[in-house]
């Protein structure tokens, strides 16, 4: 573009930016308290809507003026609903509150907003350093994070484009529109950014291939078909800061020469669909998307395509088929989508996190980005750390941090003081790593070497009560159900793997099963057509490698060491501890398997028991009389259950 055009571009955008800053100033300087409520899916699931309503009602009732600012998710799911109250008149800094239920919201309005008492017992910390309240930055859950992609998540209103612009949003799009595409691609290449969808392909290289690919029409697709069970980073980003992703897409589209883009979002994410659709609309209204973006000659239309529930559509060729209106079955690559993608046009498919990394990279430069993380995996990794861990939620850390630091330091270790058993990384394509690999640094290559994989960022922490054979069975059950059915190895092979694992967890395994599990797994890995099949055996292979003794206990002793496989365990009551006359367990048993013995203590009718473990939860801690054993024949028979009529 000519200098005159650039000037015009800057002019058009600075008008928008001024408006955004004006609005932000008005909001910030309003002489009333501000209440920021996290309203992403996990916040809403924890009751954020009720919390918001309670704030609104109580404010109205008590006639207090305050501004409610719905924001996205800051990633601290264990503390949802999360609320930040900024009440300058009270003399306190802005404060993070955790688990703000409707009741707490009412209380905070009355006691804090009205009377100035911040109620220390509900505080997570202050958002900034100060002399009155410890700042959240003193906790490792906050201070060891490095937010690049999620920097603005949880602080801006995802449904208000001006919020993003006031924070510097879309200025990188304005900048790149004044550059030549190869300059942009060079910068992305130099940053060393690798695809955050799991495989880690260099993003700059992909863009370059697409730029040089032959074709009048080119397309950019944002892959938000986040299907790994236990992973929800992409959803959170889309729900909390959709514009950063859109800006990344626009930059990519400009760089590769695309005028059409699609955000492919999973069906299970209705809120993300709504928010992204609205964001696109808002960006169009301001001329940041659509025809002649910001008076330039660059056009870009972005559409939302909703997936329909098929995990395999996360695979790029299957994703393309599904947008085209066909069964989402992957096809052989090459040709890769950058040569021949959607409707046959060269297509760049990038993950949400990859695209959202682009604006910060361009803003701070490739060298800055390379300064974060490791040599071969620069930047940050975002994980959803869930399972038996204290501070579950989304964590963005520099690549290279060890698993131990992430799980024990940042996320507070294992729940209920249990022992660590394994960490599952990479979902159905990944693997379970044992305690002696906890010092593995988190980066693409180290995790792959250990037998897991980066995947899209799901991390499930498992304690000593988790059976590794059952976890492998669980994942095979998943992939087997999600296999598209096209190729022989995946369609039939995973089915056999699952059947073998099912036999093991039921205590019906034989010696040759382990051998067959291994050899079939190897063949499925080499023989399958697409990534889903090629990685499907990983959960079985890694657990077999690191937890073979557990497999053998299942086969040889019919014993589940973690006391988890329900066919191999039995519950009973320790009669020395069981309290006479107590009925806590009996009332909660869903199948009436608990009976009263002749001395008015309790027994378990093993025939009826479904092994749900409710009695164990219900038994008052002062008695703690419920026991589990494996193999199930070890259960002491004290008294037979009475004959049921």
């Amino acid at each position: 573009m000519s200098p005159a055009d650039n000037e015009k571009l800057d002019q058009v955008f600075s008008a928008i930016r001024e408006e955004a800053e004006k609005r932000r100033k008005a909001f910030r300087e309003a002489p009333v308290p501000k209440i920021h409520i996290g309203m992403a899916t996990c916040g809403i699931a924890s009751g954020a809507l009720e919390t918001k309503k309670a704030f609104e009602e109580t404010l109205a009732e008590r006639n207090i003026e305050a501004l409610i600012h719905p924001v996205g998710c800051i990633g601290h799911c264990y503390a949802e609903p999360v609320v930040i109250i900024d009440h300058p008149d009270s003399g306190f800094p802005p404060i993070f509150y955790h688990e703000v239920t409707a009741g707490k919201a009412k209380m905070l309005v009355k006691l804090f907003l009205e009377e100035g008492d911040p109620r220390f017992e509900h505080i997570l910390g202050a958002t900034v350093e100060n002399d009155l309240i410890p700042s959240v930055m003193e906790f490792s859950r906050f201070n060891q994070e490095k937010r690049v992609v999620m920097e603005k998540c949880g602080y801006i209103d995802p449904e208000d484009i001006y919020d993003y612009i006031a924070e510097g949003g879309y200025s990188m799009l304005v900048k790149v529109l004044q550059l030549t595409p190869d300059k942009i691609i060079k910068e992305v290449r130099n940053s060393g950014l690798r695809g955050r969808g799991g495989a880690g392909f260099p993003t700059g290289k992909k863009w370059e291939l697409a730029m040089h690919a032959e074709g009048q029409i080119k397309i950019v697709i944002c892959n938000a078909d986040e299907g790994d069970p236990g992973a929800y980073m992409d959803r959170t980003i889309l729900e909390s800061n959709p514009h950063q992703v859109l800006e990344g897409m626009a930059i990519c589209a400009y760089a590769v020469g695309a005028n059409k883009a699609v955000v492919y979002i999973r069906a299970e994410y209705p809120l993300a669909v709504k928010i992204v659709t609205k964001a696109i609309q808002q960006a169009k209204e301001l001329g940041l998307l659509g025809k002649g973006i910001l008076s330039s000659t660059f056009d870009l239309e972005i559409d939302v395509f909703r997936g329909s529930g098929a995990f395999v559509c996360g695979e790029e060729t299957a994703l393309i088929r599904s947008i085209e209106g066909y069964r989402g079955m992957p096809r052989h690559r090459p040709p890769y989508p950058v040569e021949k993608g959607l409707w046959g046009h060269p297509t760049v498919i990038n993950n949400v996190k990859t695209l959202a990394s682009v604006p910060p990279i361009l803003e701070n430069g490739a060298t800055w980005f390379r300064g974060i993380g490791t040599e071969n995996s620069p930047g940050t990794a975002i994980f959803s750390v869930v399972g038996n861990v204290v501070h579950a939620g989304l964590v963005e850390i520099p690549m290279g941090v060890t698993l131990r630091t992430l799980i024990f330091d940042i996320c507070g270790g294992i729940l209920n003081k249990k022992k660590f058993r394994a960490v599952q990384i990479g979902g159905p394509s990944g693997g379970c790593l044992p305690a002696d690999l906890l010092d593995t640094p988190i980066d693409f290559d180290s995790l792959t070497e250990a037998g897991a994989m980066m995947g899209s960022g799901g991390m499930v922490v498992m304690d000593e009560d988790t059976c590794m054979v059952d976890v492998a069975r669980y994942f095979l059950d998943f992939t087997q159900k999600e296999s598209c059915g096209k190729c022989t190895f995946c369609r039939i092979g995973t089915h056999h793997l699952l059947r073998i694992l099912e036999r093991l967890t039921k205590g019906e395994g034989q010696d040759k099963d382990l051998e067959q599990l291994e050899s079939l797994s190897e063949d499925i890995k080499t023989g399958s057509l697409c990534g889903l099949g090629k990685t499907a055996p990983n959960p079985a292979l890694t657990s077999l490698k690191y937890f073979r003794d557990e497999y053998e206990a299942h086969v040889k002793e019919k014993r589940c060491p973690a006391l988890m496989c329900r066919s191999l365990i039995a519950y009973y009551f320790d009669l020395d501890l069981c309290a006479r006359g107590c009925d806590a367990c009996a009332t909660c048993c869903p199948v009436e398997a608990v009976f009263t013995t002749s001395n008015r203590k309790k027994g378990v009718d093993q025939e009826l028991c479904v092994k749900c473990g409710e009695c164990m939860v219900a038994c008052p801690p002062e008695y703690d009389a419920v026991r589990k054993v494996s193999p199930s024949n070890l259960v002491p028979v004290v008294e037979r259950a009475p004959e049921k009529k």
């Binding site: 296999s483 063949d523 080499t526």
Partner: protein, 214 residues
Amino acid sequence: MPKLLVDNKEIEVKEGTTLLQACLDNGIYIPNLCYLESMDDPSASCRMCFVEIEGEEKPITSCTVTVKDDMVVKTDTLSVRRLHRTAFRLLLSVHHVDCKNCHVNKKCELQRIAKYLEVGLKPKHLEQHLKEPDIDQDHPFLDYYPNRCVLCGKCIHICRKKHGQSVLTFAKRGFDTVISSYGKNDVSSLACEKCVVCVDICPVGALILKEAQE
């Protein structure tokens, strides 16, 4: 015309030919079930036609490779054979082996492959998992046997090729995938009873004309 070396035999084929086709044309058999020369984009779904190509790290399906000059190919190495046999055994583990009551007995592609790979038709290593029901009689003229079908998709391809659209489709997903002829109106528009290209192309006798059975 590219010249290549397959199992130490030099062959010369037309540019743009797939490796599988090149081998088959020159009398070198590679087990295959889902490939047809008329397919623009082979589905590579049966995973039988693995070969080793010099310079490639892993075995690769020969139907997805276009021949190149000086390519050196092996069709019978240990790792290639292992994949052939596993894929084949997997297919057999869901195949209702009842050859003497099957109309394609002695013409069946599975019998041919079994002989070639020296694998028995009754699976020893894997449990058998069959679908219910054993026969689908929805189509007015055709019966479909899901426990014979290898889901190669040739029937769908050939029907589409001949009629522009196919009255057959893959339906459901994963292990439950079947061939379906859902939708009666479309079937009647094609006069299936006179066509039967799908029956003829089926390598394993999974489709059969109803009247032929009586």
